[in-house]
């Protein structure tokens, strides 16, 4: 029923779809948005093997990692470490309700908790040969290819906005790709900051929802 109701994305007012190009050309920074990706906050005790096992089972075998600031990436699920007892499950748009229910049922007996935060954030993709240069204008994290590798994630600031940052490429090409999960209310600000930061390198808007590269969620 809800499918008939129009949903409004955090950046819909920017008309990104209409601006998107398939060929970024000479632009150094490629920006896009992935709307409505399912996002689920998972909490639980990593020392509790039963919890870890239950969570992994409910997530198609994707086991929560205890390695800080890394993500486990599978075909349909990214599982990002957020804290010593906290993870962010990212999955295909529309899957959140079922996934959250399944996950909650699995981990609740083992002291785990699950909160659907799908709509709290949207996902901005930043790629292109100068993606790192643009991000470095606002982000204090060291994004050097050796220091921030494929599958690494971090929570930090970009400009004055808190972001969850994931390196989403698989390192086969020269062009890195980052995904930024940003609070919905500040997405417009962050988008404008990134367009501004990329200005000296040239910015192209790309269709991220259909261009997801490498592994990751379709």
């Amino acid at each position: 029923m809800a499918d008939a109701i129009p949903r409004l994305g955090a950046l819909d007012h920017l008309g990104l779809a209409a601006r998107a190009t398939a060929e970024p050309g000479a632009a150094g920074v490629w920006l896009g948005e992935r709307r409505f990706l399912a996002k689920i906050n998972l909490r639980g005790d990593p020392q509790n093997a039963a919890f870890m096992q239950a969570a992994g089972a409910a997530l198609d075998g994707v086991q929560p990692t205890t390695a800080p600031n890394t993500a486990v990436r599978a075909a349909a699920i990214d599982l990002l470490w957020l804290g010593p007892d906290e993870w962010l499950v990212v999955a295909a748009a529309g899957s959140e309700a079922a996934l959250a229910a399944r996950l909650a049922a699995a981990v609740a007996p083992h002291g785990g908790t699950v909160t659907d935060v799908t709509e709290s954030r949207t996902t901005i993709t930043v790629s292109g040969p100068r993606a790192r240069d643009a991000l470095a204008k606002g982000c204090p994290i060291d994004l050097h290819p050796r220091r921030f590798r494929p599958g690494d994630c971090a929570q930090s600031l970009l400009a004055r906005v808190g972001v969850i940052l994931l390196r989403a490429d698989d390192a086969t090409g020269p062009v890195p790709r980052f995904e930024l999960h940003v609070l919905r209310s500040m997405a417009d600000y962050l988008w404008r900051f990134l367009e501004d930061a990329g200005q000296e390198y040239g910015v192209a808007v790309v269709e991220s929802e259909d261009r997801s590269q490498g592994s990751g969620i379709r």
Partner: protein, 96 residues
């Protein structure tokens, strides 16, 4: 521009953190039985040393965890950061 070692996330820039002031201040369990002056000691009185200082930090723009640190208030050297519940490290110079 401190470089602070979050016990979970590793070294991160100061801008990601917020300082929570003096650490290891126990909330009095017998608060209702102590005098106003004794309660003021908990609420307001601080060691504020010129030297090594046990303090609390929050990785507010990172993993959102609170942790403790031992930092020198003149050199700004951070000798240790440690998780809540972990034993506090001894003072490096054995004094104060």
């Amino acid at each position: 521009m401190l470089l602070i070692h979050c016990p979970w996330c590793g070294p991160r820039e100061e801008v990601e953190f917020r300082c929570g002031g003096q650490g290891h201040i126990a909330r009095p369990a017998d608060a209702m039985d102590i005098s106003d002056a004794e309660y003021a000691r908990y609420l307001f009185m601080r060691t504020n040393p010129k030297g090594w200082h046990y303090e609390r930090w929050n990785h507010v723009h990172g993993c959102r965890r609170w942790f403790n640190a031992l930092r020198h208030t003149v050199t700004h050297e951070i000798r240790a950061t440690y998780r809540p519940g972990e034993k506090k490290p001894p003072l490096p110079d054995g004094t104060t």
